[in-house]
């Protein structure tokens, strides 16, 4: 491929930004300068769809009613482990208004599904309204043959435990970023270990240490609990299927649906215009999408199948728990000599309960080994949940780093300074510490009254993930209107708006001048919103397509102005020749003169440009300040400072919104949330919103964001995501601050008042 050499900014806020040369495909534009010199990109532009959201006009999947649409409801399993001997649907079939009944299946050779958790969907019914569908569900009789079950992870690991799967199982990763290794051994309920990439010699490493600490950290199961539940409307017609889906990935739904029903992908169209939250759990077709497909095919009518709140909490995904043992050696000077990690976690009947790669990759340490095990239990399947694995892993790792720092009498920040090779986190530590005023940190448990204040910090790491399968079409019409089209979805992150910003910047227009059509597989394919990959994947494709359209326009203009196209420039609505400024034409005029009514270009993400990153990962540092009431055990978070990087930020306000969200979910995880299963019945006890405690308005502290710009010169936009990074460090920072406040370390979340009081009683 022909290439050219261009200059690009390289560096990080707070340091001098250098210029580097990159060799890039000839089809791509020159590098943008830093954000301060741009007009649309890097600015806090209002969301294009904000008005629809504040007026109630935005129509979500759950809001849609199609002509003739049936409502689907599910019958869910009463028992956590059972074989089904029979299902009697005869009474339901006779109920007026019932149009279709579909029995799920999870083993090829069995008539009925094997039940592996209480709440597992078994039968789906389509009726003319929800009430009748629910009445029909009540009329269906299931004959269960009950079996022993296990919902407790530690019990599930014992040899005498009831078994969830008799034979080895595999599961593909979703686009959510969770790691599932293939082909691992299954012994009882324990599958693994996933050993990551070990290095060095542990024994020698520990021998070289002055201090070796070994601790166990525990995290709980957290449900996603998005406001809009999982679900889809499937409209099956002879000439093709249209699916309205509450999804994080249009393409993933299309492909799974086509595979399941043996249809060509061209016959399946998936649409999601507005989506009420996913956080990792809404990739793929899901049980309800599949059931709606069967029912629509069977009845010839559109079928809407949304999970109830209870089903949402039980069967539609969760963040697996973890029991992590960490053994780490450190020298008196603060060099890590060895890290040994072992973890067990349960994603219920699913996989993906590892603790990620943070212990492996974040800090300089020559000797490393991990062994991560999944433990099956009779509980609803886990799913990717914002920074899957990393959130759990950092909770252990970053507390351990604080424990080591204390053991060698070092400030926690000073230890990170020593062991952390990331320039980006270094800058974040510096700027964050200034904003937070880290210097006011007192020795642990210094406050004498009943309310004890504490401060703490923690760091995080996430990959710079980008996906080459990200395509955008840009279209210029004769009236000068610009349209962007892509199958990519906006799940509330602001993807729609940043696409418009990118194209507007390239054409010197205003963001609101650009029409963005996304969330529809009618448009070019793009990746799911997972792993914080969308911004890094889709924005270079959008810019490159816009640039191609501009070049095609310049070719036309060159003929009109009788100049060489390569001398043309577009600025402030005028196209002019850099050689002869009298040769010019307005963008509007030039568009009017198009020989055909439109120019389009379609581009896909190209590989990252060759050359070094500032640092391989996306780093963050978060600081927490809190008060512990030692009489009630209640913790109040007073302030969080979150210092983050995401490459070139495209829309600062939107990035801040996402960081706020990540921090708030982190607080919720650290202090409140906990899925509780009854060990006697296997049922989820707290599936309602009033019993599943999460952060509400009263729990929200001041959140102060330090947003770094890190220019790596790796693509035409140099942008990366922020969704996952925002959510990783908060719980560990809070746990470290709790220790600073009360002088007792609580190594298990959620840190509820009873745990605080218990810890204080040990003093």
């Amino acid at each position: 491929m022909d290439t050219k050499k261009i200059k690009m900014p390289y560096g990080i806020t707070g340091e001098k930004i250098q210029e580097v040369e990159r060799e890039v495909p000839i089809t791509e534009p020159d590098g943008w300068p830093v954000n301060a010199q741009l007009k649309q990109v890097g600015k806090s532009i209002k969301r294009l769809d904000a008005e629809a959201k504040v007026t109630g006009a935005a129509r979500y999947t759950s809001d849609m009613q199609l002509p003739g649409m049936l409502i689907g409801r599910a019958l869910i399993a009463t028992y956590p482990s059972a074989n089904i001997k029979g299902i009697d649907t005869s009474a339901a079939e006779k109920l007026p208004g019932v149009y279709g009944i579909h029995i799920m299946k999870n083993e090829d050779d069995r008539e009925y599904p094997i039940i592996r958790y209480a709440g597992q969907p078994i039968v789906a019914v389509a009726a003319i309204n929800e009430d009748i569908a629910e009445e029909a569900i009540d009329l269906i009789k299931v004959a269960y043959e009950r079996k022993n079950f296990v919902v407790d992870i530690e019990k599930a690991m014992t040899p005498e435990s009831p078994i969830v799967y008799e034979a080895a199982v595999e599961q593909e990763e979703s686009e959510g970023g969770e790691e599932i290794a293939e082909g691992l051994k299954l012994e009882g309920n324990v599958r693994g270990p996933n050993q990551g990439q070990p290095r060095g010699e542990l024994e020698a490493g520990f021998a070289a240490a002055d201090v070796v600490l070994e601790q166990t950290y525990r995290t709980q199961v957290q449900t996603h609990n998005a406001l809009e539940s999982h679900g889809m409307i499937v409209d099956w017609r002879p000439d093709g299927v249209t699916i309205y889906a509450s999804t994080q990935g249009t393409q993933g739904v299309r492909d799974e649906f086509a595979d399941l029903f043996d249809l060509p992908r061209s016959k399946v169209r998936v649409i999601v215009e507005y989506m009420g939250g996913g956080f990792g759990a809404k990739h793929g077709l899901g049980t309800y999408g599949g059931a709606a497909g069967h029912l629509s095919k069977m009845t010839g009518r559109p079928v809407k199948m949304m999970a109830s709140r209870k089903e949402e909490q039980i069967s539609q995904g969760n963040r697996p728990n973890s029991i992590q043992r960490l053994k780490v050696g450190v020298t008196k000077k603060g060099d890590l000599t060895a890290i040994e990690q072992e973890s067990y976690g349960t994603a219920g009947v699913g996989l993906g309960a590892g603790v990620g790669g943070v212990a492996q990759g974040m800090y300089t340490c020559p000797n490393f080994r991990t062994r991560q095990y999944d433990v099956f239990t009779h509980a609803g399947p886990g799913a990717a949940w914002r920074a899957p694995g990393a959130v759990q892993g950092i909770f252990g790792l970053e507390q351990m780093m604080d424990e080591l720092a204390e053991a060698i009498d070092m400030d926690p920040m000073a230890l990170r300074e020593k062991i952390d090779p990331s320039r980006i986190r270094k800058a974040a530590r510096k700027m964050g510490a200034e904003r937070f005023d880290w210097s006011r940190r007192k020795p642990k448990a210094s406050d004498t009254g009943p309310i004890k204040k504490g401060i703490g910090m923690a760091q995080s790491s996430w990959w710079r993930i980008h996906n080459l399968n990200a395509t955008v079409e840009v279209k210029l019409l004769r009236d000068g209107a610009l349209e962007v089209r892509s199958g990519v979805q906006d799940i509330g992150t602001g993807t729609k708006t940043i696409l418009a910003q990118i194209v507007a910047e390239e054409f010197g227009l205003q963001t609101e001048d650009v029409m963005v059509r996304i969330g529809d597989t009618l448009f070019p394919d793009a990746p799911g919103s997972g792993g914080s990959q969308v911004t890094a994947s889709i924005t270079p494709a959008a810019r490159n397509a816009a640039y191609q359209v501009k070049m095609k326009l310049f070719d036309q203009v060159a003929k009109i102005l009788e100049v060489d196209a390569s001398t043309l420039k577009l600025e402030n609505g005028m196209i002019f020749s850099t050689k002869d400024s009298s040769k010019k034409i307005s963008f509007q005029e030039a568009s009017k003169k198009l020989p055909v009514s439109q120019i389009t270009a379609t581009e896909s993400r190209t590989p990252e440009y060759k050359g070094d990153y500032l640092h391989w990962d996306l780093g963050s540092v978060q600081f927490a300040e809190l008060s512990v009431d030692t009489e009630t055990g209640h913790i109040h978070i007073d302030k969080i400072v979150a210092a983050h990087s995401c490459g070139r930020p495209i829309n600062v306000r939107q990035v801040e919104s996402q960081i706020n969200g990540g921090v708030i979910q982190g607080i919720s995880y650290a202090l409140y949330e906990d899925r509780i299963l009854d060990r006697n019945t296997g049922h989820m006890v707290n599936h309602t919103l009033d019993t599943y405690k999460a952060t509400y308005a009263a729990d929200i502290p001041e959140i102060d964001i330090v947003l770094l710009e890190d220019y790596n010169a790796k693509s035409s936009t140099d942008a990366y995501g922020i969704g996952e990074p925002a959510n990783i460090a908060t719980a560990a920072a809070i746990a470290n601050a709790v220790y600073n406040a009360i002088g007792v370390r609580i190594r298990e979340i959620p840190i509820t008042p009873d745990k605080v009081l218990k810890a204080l009683n040990q003093v």
């Binding site: 309204n129 799967y165 406001l227 509400y696």
Partner: protein, 206 residues
């Protein structure tokens, strides 16, 4: 881990056990591929169930609307399904998230906890009725300016709560804003921007 960034995630991956878990319907069976009992016409079937449904009128956003509803229908359901006013959301359906907040005679209520029949001749205001004469309510504009919605699903409820606060307290403190939105659940975590937007709208409304 260090070199994950140079290996872009390849193409599509999908969730689904090859064997086993509940998250899939691979290889499902249909009991029967015909149409079951019930008439073809939706309306007629509704009439079959009809003895219990009643005709009522309701003043919604200043317009008198006719409804044919069952006594068990909640206001939230009636608004969403019968009047197509889907800005009012149902999330928990039991009074613990405020996504369904509407005003009845200017008092915020959870529409999921209110029977449609019980509204009587009182006036219902929903998110769709907040903008007047094509002009957004200042709190709606402030939500746009301060990026106070992400996925936006909680937004109508948040706005109905904060707009009501401003109607009786033109000068709220942040603690009062928190109090007014204490029941509104937002999983995306827009709270800080919601607080900012409300305080700024209060200033602008002076």
């Amino acid at each position: 881990m260090e070199d994950k960034h140079i290996t872009p995630k390849s193409g599509i991956t999908r969730r689904g056990f090859i064997k086993g878990a509940g998250l899939t319907t691979v290889g499902s069976v249909a009991l029967q591929s015909g149409v079951f009992a019930g008439t073809e016409k939706t309306e007629e079937v509704k009439k079959d169930l009809g003895p219990d449904a009643v005709n009522i009128t309701m003043n919604v956003n200043g317009k008198i609307r006719k409804l044919n509803i069952e006594p068990r229908a909640t206001l939230a359901k009636a608004l969403r399904e019968d009047l197509q006013l889907t800005g009012t959301k149902i999330v928990c359906d039991r009074g613990s998230c405020s996504a369904c907040t509407v005003w009845i005679d200017n008092t915020p209520v959870n529409a999921c906890m209110t029977f449609a029949m019980d509204v009587g001749d009182k006036e219902v205001t929903t998110i769709e009725g907040l903008a007047k004469n094509g002009k957004l309510h200042p709190i709606q504009q402030a939500f746009i300016d301060h990026d106070a919605s992400q996925c936006g699903y909680c937004t109508p409820g948040m706005i109905m709560s904060t707009a009501h606060l401003l109607s009786r307290n033109p000068n709220p403190t942040i603690e009062e804003v928190k109090h007014a939105t204490r029941g509104n659940y937002c999983r995306c975590g827009t709270y800080p921007h919601v607080f900012e937007a409300t305080l700024s709208a209060a200033k602008k409304m002076k």
